[in-house]
């Protein structure tokens, strides 16, 4: 016989302002099986919890219903309190009187009636609940970090330094990400390469880090603590163990006119190439799409010149299988190509470039060795225009959100220009200046006040060429939308930061979610910024939304701590809310008939076959079995199974059925 306790919370006045809490408690007291029912100001407070605990002990409660806020808020709190008083935590349920009732309805009988119904549903459910025990699973103490930008690098180093193994995979031939392309960095103007390269080298040399460049995640199975990753190492056409990185091949390769990705198309590279001089690892790869040998079957110059005979034309992709306990996604972002703005003439006029291209021009290791020269004729531009929000905050043509980093890097670009081109004139067209951050506003002010950058608040409507100049037609909204025409030599567009290509597929492989802009979704916008909805998978850096380096690094360290926390235990406890296939007495053994149609319904491949054998070892029946490690508890199989042989703990047939019955049948 059930002995249920009902605890109605006022939540200060959050609930009691519209719900008659005393009446709810009183009504609940009359339900079959309810032996104790009370209302109280704050159930989640210490005295509130004590109230529940002592009732459990004194009244010998077999089930508890706390009618308060959303279970998504306090379910763990109350379940823990129950456990402390000796009641199985899964015998505690919460009726959501706040978010689903008091906050959304006006004061009145109907609101109180709804509250009463909500309590009754859960009283009936809890009567059918079963005690459940947490599931323990072992933890593989190796982390997989996906993406070797600054975020991935930082996360890998932090995890490795806490004593755990890390596998870092990077899609490109070198780690470094966007940061390696930057010239100087705001707000301090220190050289990006100078601060980044030492960390890249540290990654390569760290004894706890295995680095796979030119590699991508092929597939992922498993669950927190016990993932099985398949990593595709794309063929580099090179035996890395033998290659010394001498560079003979890259100098001799006859295909020299391929636009360099690293230099954003402003420089050229060969078919066998190292993306940039400081690359880690500093060993080349053959770009098979452009290599003459792969196209025409002839050439092999690199093979001939290689002193160590490291070239492998017939090398194939390899798949590495790795068991990992946690995953950090740090795949970063990309910039939207500005061709969707035809009026700015990107692609048509070579001197209309993107911010990243400007970084390459300003970089000492870039195609112009750090001199600002126009791509068209190599002249030093005397007048330069920077356009902010080229695509950002533009729901019509671009993206609705603010890319966050552009205001700052534009100020940086203008400043670098003023430092490099004496007597040059620079203009910035902007919508608002967003310079929140330590020393950020000061940085922008420096650009305006010390370096004389002209900031014009307004949009540019069109850019066209006239007499060798780029005519930038804009308006100054601070001067009553007065038209402003600037005859510039070069224009830099601060193009929107968007989710990386393939982030959607990656999210699907990882079984984690992404937002409408295809950035990875955090588990909670405020309180769980580095977690995802999938246990054991964390986020770092710009893959979650555009962010600058300090933020990316902070997030990476945050993710690393989460991983280290996970790895500090030998076993994990998981919620037992998973599916089970019923077992019955012989000769039926289970109502499962082994049709295995449920197997393909399970999103996690958690359903296996189990053979029931007799004493002589002969198989008498083959039925379905849910792997408790893999099952995530969605219940898709439950609703699917014809014979109702699978049930999901915590949401059983009986429990859900009684909820419906309780709701509609008044007492």
């Amino acid at each position: 016989m059930s002995k249920i306790g009902v605890f109605v919370c006022h939540c200060g006045e959050n609930i009691s302002a519209t719900v008659d809490c005393a009446k709810v408690a009183e009504t609940a007291a009359g339900y079959d099986g309810v032996v104790y029912s009370i209302d109280y100001k704050y159930m989640c407070s210490d005295p509130g919890q004590s109230l529940i605990k002592s009732a459990i002990i004194e009244k010998g409660l077999t089930g508890v219903v706390v009618a308060s806020c959303s279970p998504r808020m306090h379910e763990p709190t109350f379940r823990k309190a129950c456990a402390e008083a000796g009641l199985n935590p899964y015998m505690c349920e919460m009726a959501n009187l706040r978010e689903h009732c008091s906050w959304v309805h006006e004061k009145g009988d109907a609101t109180t009636e709804k509250a009463i119904d909500l309590v009754r549903i859960l009283v009936e459910k809890v009567k059918k609940n079963h005690s459940l025990n947490a599931i323990k699973v072992p933890v593989t103490k190796t982390a997989l970090v996906i993406g070797g930008g600054i975020a991935g690098i930082q996360a890998s180093l932090d995890i490795a330094n806490s004593g755990h193994k890390v596998i870092l995979i990077e899609r490109d031939p070198s780690i470094g990400g966007h940061m390696s392309q930057l010239s100087e960095t705001f707000p301090t103007l220190d050289c990006s390469q100078c601060i980044l390269t030492p960390r890249m080298v540290e990654v390569a040399q760290h004894e706890n880090i295995t680095l796979y460049t030119y590699a991508e995640l092929e597939s992922l199975e498993g669950f927190v603590g016990n993932f099985k990753a398949k990593i595709r190492r794309k063929s580099k056409s090179l035996d890395e163990k033998i290659c010394t990185g001498c560079g003979q091949c890259t100098t001799k390769c006859p295909v020299k006119k391929i636009p360099s990705e690293f230099n954003e198309g402003l420089g050229k590279r060969t078919a066998i190439y190292v993306p940039f001089p400081q690359a880690v690892p500093n060993k080349p790869v053959i770009d098979r799409v452009n290599c003459t040998y792969y196209i025409k079957g002839k050439c092999k110059v690199c093979e001939i010149v290689c002193p160590t005979k490291a070239i492998r034309f017939d090398q194939e992709d390899t798949i590495v299988e790795a068991e990992v306990g946690a995953i950090v996604v740090a795949t970063g972002f990309t910039v939207k190509q500005p061709d969707f703005f035809p009026e700015y003439g990107f692609g048509k006029y070579p001197d209309v470039i993107t911010g990243l291209q400007f970084e390459r021009l300003a970089s000492a290791s870039g195609p112009t060795l750090g001199e600002i020269r126009r791509p068209s004729d190599g002249k030093v531009p005397e007048k330069i225009v920077f356009i902010a929000c080229a695509g950002s905050r533009d729901p019509a043509k671009g993206i609705p959100y603010c890319s966050k980093i552009c205001c700052m890097y534009i100020a940086k670009h203008a400043m670098l220009y003023q430092h490099k081109v004496h007597g040059g004139k620079s203009y910035v067209f902007y919508m608002d200046i967003r310079a929140g951050g330590k020393m950020y506003e000061e940085f922008v002010r420096r650009a305006i006040e010390d370096d004389g950058v002209n900031y014009i608040r307004g949009r540019v409507s069109r850019i066209y060429e006239k007499n060798g100049k780029l005519i930038v037609k804009g308006a100054d909204t601070l001067l009553g939308a007065m038209p402003v025409d600037i005859d510039a030599d070069m224009v830099v567009l601060a193009t929107a930061g968007i989710a990386n290509e393939g982030s959607e597929e990656l999210a699907q492989k990882l079984h984690t979610s992404y937002d409408s802009y295809h950035f990875f979704s955090e588990a909670h916008p405020k309180l769980k910024p580095v977690e995802t909805n999938t246990a054991g998978i964390f986020l770092a850096g710009a893959c979650q939304s555009p962010k600058d380096i300090p933020e990316s690094v902070a997030m990476a360290s945050g993710a690393a701590v989460k991983v280290a926390c996970l790895f500090s235990q030998d076993e994990l406890t998981r919620e037992p809310l998973i599916a089970v296939v019923n077992r019955q007495a012989a000769p039926v053994f289970s109502s499962c008939v082994g049709c295995f149609l449920c197997v393909s319904a399970c999103p996690y491949q958690a359903i296996e076959k189990e053979e029931i054998k007799n004493r002589t070892g002969e198989v008498i029946k083959t039925i379905a079995k849910v792997n408790p490690g893999l099952c995530q508890g969605c219940g898709t199989c439950v609703a699917f199974c014809r014979t109702k042989s699978i049930d999901i703990q915590g949401y059983t047939h009986e429990e859900m059925y009684s909820e419906v019955m309780a709701l509609l049948n008044e007492y």
Partner: protein, 266 residues
């Protein structure tokens, strides 16, 4: 069907097969299932247009399976059921030999189920004209008229479960209708329980029913319950391009396409 008798006799004599499932002459000019275990009884086997009972129903029965390897005289609907049952791991080449009967009533023995699969895929599952007409008529009714139609049709059902017994796909050891914790379907026979029972059965047969009409033929009250399945067959075709029993591959209801189209979800 001398061919069939001859072959059955051979198979039993050589002991490659322990039981041949076929039809024999019954009472009142009807035919019924026959289980031949002795070679000399093979002569009782018959086949003609009256043989519509779906014999695949028997191959999942423990009592029949226990006899050893089975051979079955199978018309196209029976073969379809067999393939679906094989897909659901209920039968396999190990325990079943298919003695196919073509639409021209010729014997066509299959080496294995793979051959059976290939053969049945030559024929589409098609709803015949008279049923078409009934479906169209129902589709033309208002919702309330349809409700009334079904409540009237189903009210005499007394849950004898003849439909379930005749259906090769209803091989579950414990049918959900017999489930009492919770009691999904009310025990007594009344309109609602009957309706729920038949809705449930129709759902369970989504993507599995091969349109043999066994259920409707078995119903002692002549309730056209097969209309439900026929309609779902059409719906499956309309929404998802239809289905055919296969030995391997996707099952209509336990897979999905990310771009499955609907027009009712807000």
């Amino acid at each position: 069907m001398d061919e069939l008798r001859k072959r059955a006799k051979e198979l039993l004599e050589s002991k490659t097969i322990s039981v041949v499932i076929g039809y024999e002459e019954g009472t009142c000019n009807r035919t019924r299932a026959l289980f031949v275990e002795k070679p000399e009884e093979a002569s009782k086997l018959i086949f003609d247009s009256r043989c519509v009972l779906n014999l695949a129903t028997y191959i999942t029965k423990q009592e029949v399976k226990a006899k050893g390897k089975m051979a079955i005289a199978a018309t196209i609907p029976v073969m379809r059921s067999i393939i679906q049952l094989a897909y659901e791991f209920q039968v396999s080449d190990k325990n079943l030999l298919v003695l196919g009967i073509t639409p021209e009533s010729n014997l066509m023995e299959f080496k294995d189920l793979l051959e059976v699969e290939t053969y049945i895929h030559k024929f589409e599952i098609e709803i015949n004209a008279s049923y078409r007409e009934k479906l169209d008529k129902l589709a033309g009714m208002t919702q309330t008229e349809r409700w009334k139609f079904w409540i009237d049709e189903l009210s005499p059902c007394f849950k004898c479960y003849a439909c379930r017994a005749a259906c090769p796909m209803c091989y579950c050891h414990r049918c959900t209708v017999d489930f009492n914790q919770p009691q999904w379907i009310p025990v007594p026979s009344h309109e609602l329980g009957n309706l729920e029972w038949h809705i449930m059965r129709a759902v369970h047969l989504m993507g599995r029913c091969i349109d043999c009409d066994g259920c409707a033929n078995a119903c002692p009250l002549g309730i056209p319950i097969n209309l439900l399945n026929k309609r779902l067959l059409e719906d499956a075709k309309r929404h998802f391009g239809g289905y055919q029993p296969v030995l391997k591959g996707d099952h209509l209801m336990s897979t999905f396409k990310p771009d499955d189209k609907e027009n009712f979800i807000r």
